[in-house]
Symmetry: C2
Subunit: 95 residues, 2 copies
């Protein structure tokens, strides 16, 4: 199993609409990529103001999902909740 | 619910023993803090070589766990698998 974490660094002068992110943006991504859900984080302490963790069966499945036509719509929606450039982390889920 | 993510940045010249981490260190932390388990990541792409995500019922529960005597043993075990200084992120789990 593969975890794709999208991490939004705390950024001077930038805003992040947590409500829109959880109620609209992440559901859009979940639908576009055919997932059952995602884990959403609202930062309390640390370098990130928000994050989301998606789980895929394999690197191939992740590649296929991100290559789907719906991804363009997901990316075009980002300016609706933040100007922060996210950090992407792909990991193998060990346990 | 609170997620405590411990993220190990890719660091020039540093090593990380993923086997020891998953089989010994994280179980030690899980036991010390009275948790049911944790999610362990082995980095594939991105800024982190490894990560772990612990879940607590509340900030108070997290504080109580980290303040328990067993935490000293957990911290003393870190040099057994890496010299990397981890990044700590505490987040509220939104969904």
């Amino acid at each position: 199993m593969i975890r794709l974490s999208v991490l939004y660094p705390v950024t001077e002068g930038a805003t992040f609409d947590h409500d829109y992110y959880a109620s609209s943006h992440v559901p859009l991504a979940v639908k576009a990529w055919g997932l059952e859900g995602a884990d959403i984080d609202k930062g309390v302490n640390g370098p990130y103001v928000a994050a989301v963790h998606f789980t895929f069966d394999s690197m191939e499945a992740m590649g296929a999902a991100l290559g789907a036509p719906g991804t363009a719509e997901v990316m075009a929606d980002v300016p609706n909740y933040t100007t922060i450039q996210p950090v992407m982390q792909t990991s193998e889920i060990v346990a």
